[in-house]
């Protein structure tokens, strides 16, 4: 009786496992590598600052797994730096942007060339001046991403922030 229960339990477990195997997984074969966004803006979605005064705002970004982007100060002049900007006429002015220091990185096939990159999560510390009122700012982040084998073209993403100047 005991062994029958054991066999039945095993069968159930195998059924569950095999059913799980049918579901597409994020890292399953066939997943497009270049299709998704390399960098995603995380937060804040909304900030309240004193109108007319420079105010610090920390912007948080996340880079896709296995990817890296050039830091703001890449070591090679032909590489495209990561840059943040706020379009003119949006009611908010970018006074200053402090970028994190890049991490050293080398490609396996070229161990002698050191790159300065961001991976994982990174934060840009900005100082902005907002006019009085509510401003739906579409700031921009320009970057160029690679993994160990390929590089994606430079891209500019929108960084949407609701800035309230009081």
């Amino acid at each position: 009786m005991k062994s029958s229960r054991w066999v039945a339990g095993m069968a159930l477990a195998l059924l569950v496992l095999s059913a799980k195997g049918q579901a597409p997984m994020s890292d399953s074969p066939g997943r497009s590598i270049t299709g998704g966004a390399a960098v995603v803006y995380q937060y804040p979605e909304q900030v309240t600052v004193s109108a007319g005064k420079p105010s610090p705002v920390a912007l948080h970004f996340r880079i896709g797994q296995g990817l890296h982007i050039n830091s703001h100060t890449p070591r090679q002049e032909e590489l495209i730096p990561t840059t943040f900007s706020i379009p003119e006429g949006s009611g908010v002015r970018l006074v200053k942007a402090d970028y994190p220091t890049g991490n050293d990185f080398t490609l396996p096939l070229d161990p002698n060339t050191k790159l300065s990159v961001y991976t994982g999560e990174f934060t840009i510390l900005t100082r902005i001046v907002a006019e009085s009122g509510n401003h739906l700012v579409e700031a921009k982040l320009r970057y160029q991403a690679c993994d160990r084998n390929v590089c994606m073209p430079p891209k500019t993403i929108t960084v949407p922030i609701d800035v309230i100047g009081k």
């Binding site: 066999v7 890292d27 066939g30 590598i33 270049t34 590489l79 160029q144 390929v150 994606m152 073209p153």
Partner: protein, 213 residues
Amino acid sequence: MKRNTLVLGVVLLILATFAWAGWANWEYRKQAAEKLLASAAKGELVSTAAGDVPQYISPLKGKPAPNFALEDLSGHKVSLSSYKGKAVLLNFWATWCGPCKIETPWLVELRNQYAAQGFEILGISTEGDDLAKDDKAGREKQKADVAKFAQQEHMPYPVLIDGDSISQTYGGLDAMPTSFFVDRNGTVVAAQMGISSKDDIEANIRKALGAGK
């Protein structure tokens, strides 16, 4: 006896479940691959079962390479059709692409090695940049950067600019480097996105030359 029969039945059920799961999984992957190919007016770089060497699925493989005419660094138009009868490697690259820089010396060596057999490379700069169309200064700088790169790397083959204009006809070119190996009849016999090894490139060149798989 009755219990043994029951256990045997359960074991058979488990084996049948395994067989079904394997078949269903194979079917699912086959359908996914077919769907991808069917919708592939666009090339896709996809992860493989092993998870380490991504595979480039190009809609152009086995088809005639789309003709084009692009300017070289001296401003002369160069068309693919003028290379008919030769095996050609179309190497799409960009100045901001580290892996492109790594593979360029391999390409130079291979070009020199196989040129006598009727092989040529067309290096097509595809900056993919989001420069405005009227940004003349930006485009001039880009052209100067491409020329500088070509000079630094001693590229002995034609370097063409504005690969972005033919990107769609070549499957989208979402990443660099991307190479298409075209045989003497103008058919794409292999395509590769991303850097792998000099040996892989050489094997595809030989395939394009009809000198072995």
